[in-house]
Amino acid sequence: MIKVENLKKTFGPKVAVNGISFTVERGEVLGFLGPNGAGKSTSMRMITGFIPPTAGKVTVGGFDIAENPIAAKRLVGYLPENAPAYTDMTVYGFLDFVAELRGMRGDQRKKAIHRVVEMCFLESVLYQSVDTLSKGYRHRTCFAQSIIHDPDVLILDEPTDGLDPNQKHEVRTLIRRMGEKKAIIFSTHILEEVEAVCSRAMIIDRGQVVANGTPAELKQKSDIAGAVTLTVGGVTSAELSQKLAQISVAKRTAILKEGSSRVLARVFPRPDTVSGELARQVAEVAQREKWRLEELHTEEGRLDEVFRSITLPETVKEERK
């Protein structure tokens, strides 16, 4: 549905987006991640046809956004960053205006408004003026606007920004559900959101794609991915380290916390270890040595760690060390 080829945008001397390419098919939810100023919003603005790219090409549903903008824009619902809305209108008036611009008439329009009002929980503010809405409600109003014509393609720039935890949950569920039938791109700074919603995630840094894959694949890149974390009692940390070091697939053991009666430790695997093998062997050792094993699990890896290790500039990384 969405095809982006070598997209580039420069503002004067500044390169905001530097050659991004990807495709999103129907049934996919693509998450855009990246530090502030990475170029996420700029990319979305080009995909939706708001700003022309310096170079590159965007097609939506087969229509080139530069050559056939009207046909392409018809297919797209867009929630811009900061959720703009006309402050002098009521929520109903605003949705009605957008629905009319989307070409809906009469009954069809009323039904569409009713549908999104229900989906976005806007009943209580329906006749309130937009400029008196709280931030979260304004965000929901603009989100409602983006799905009013039930578009095939949804571009959402930080859709959960400013929402309370319940609403965040609602919106994520909604995106996941809509993602089954639509092609969706959304950007976020909340990494759990990516795991909860996306079928694929892309990390963008300084205008370039630096990682691209399913959330699980990305997590694999984490340092702790595949490590086994365990809590045991009845053993000293020195003995624990010594025994665990004898495991053939273990590379090293780190003691994370040492209490009076129990130790929290993490064992890292050697490269190319079959998943689950390390955990099995650690459990065996524990049983043989009659340790009091309280908890043991294999780490999946953490997205925030991957994110940090990929997007932190080298100089900062070195300073930290």
């Binding site: 009207i70 811009p80 006309y86």
Partner: protein, 251 residues
């Protein structure tokens, strides 16, 4: 085509509604009516003239009245849209930028038309007191409406240039003032005497003045050249507005 028309109509409708949900519209109308009344009856010497005509006491003020009042309507047109970020919504809807530009302009022009219509008590008064030529009054109204449109279109440009409404207001007042200035006798004298240029230059500059073109309408003459003059200012300005809006987006 019908699509284009209905898109423009949707935008006109929204704009007009938004004029009347804010107090700006009412404040504007009251100030406009108050000033026209004041200028006509007090400064214009309507009663002292003892003529059943509106040219001197009423219409001759319009170019000056519009100088400040029209930029006040026009200043928010695009600057507000950019400030709120709704420009991004509007330009990602399945409409062309033209439809948006024309829609917003037409709405503000209709608003001006409404304000003009509300000056009807003056027409009734003059008809009650004497026997004016209502044809002349009508052409003068048409001219005033066209002139207001030209000022408004210029304000469109300045409101697209900046997010700041005050800056937009000041620049459009200056632009409109230049259009008036070009037709003042003092300016043509200046060109003839001080610059020593030929009469053609004075004529050329005079031809760019709203005063020159409006005076025909005031006398009841519907001159096609004057109509074309105002319409070309409008079209040129809307076109420029489009170019400016596009260049902002291109960054």
């Amino acid at each position: 085509m019908s699509n284009a028309f209905s898109n423009v109509r949707t935008i006109v409708k929204r704009e007009l509604k938004s004029y009347f949900t804010s107090p700006i519209a009412y404040v504007f109308i009251v100030i406009f009516l108050f000033l026209t009344g004041f200028l006509t009856f007090m400064l214009g010497g309507f009663f002292e003239l003892g003529q059943a005509s509106l040219e001197r006491p009423f219409f001759s003020w319009h170019p000056w009245l519009y100088l400040f009042l029209v930029p006040a309507i026009g200043m928010r047109l695009w600057s507000e849209e950019r400030r709120l970020g709704t420009l991004e919504l509007l330009f990602t809807m399945p409409i062309t930028p033209w439809q948006a530009i024309v829609g917003k302009f037409v709405a503000s022009w209709l608003f001006l038309a409404l304000t003009l219509i509300l000056t009807f008590p003056i027409v009734i008064t003059v008809n009650y007191l004497g026997n004016p030529d209502n044809g002349i009054i009508l052409t003068a109204y048409i001219g005033s409406f066209l002139m207001g449109g030209a000022y408004l279109a210029l304000s469109c440009i300045t409101s697209a240039m900046t997010r700041n409404q005050v800056v937009s207001f000041i620049i459009s007042v200056v632009l409109c003032f230049m259009l008036i200035l070009a037709g003042l006798p003092a300016v043509s004298t200046f060109i003839l005497d001080v610059l020593g240029a030929g009469g053609w230059l004075a004529d050329l500059v005079g031809n760019f003045s709203v005063l020159t073109h409006f005076s025909g309408f005031e006398k009841g003459v519907l001159d096609s050249r004057s109509i074309i003059f105002f319409l070309s200012i409008i079209i040129f300005s809307l076109f420029t507005t489009g170019v400016i809006l596009r260049s902002h987006r291109a960054g």
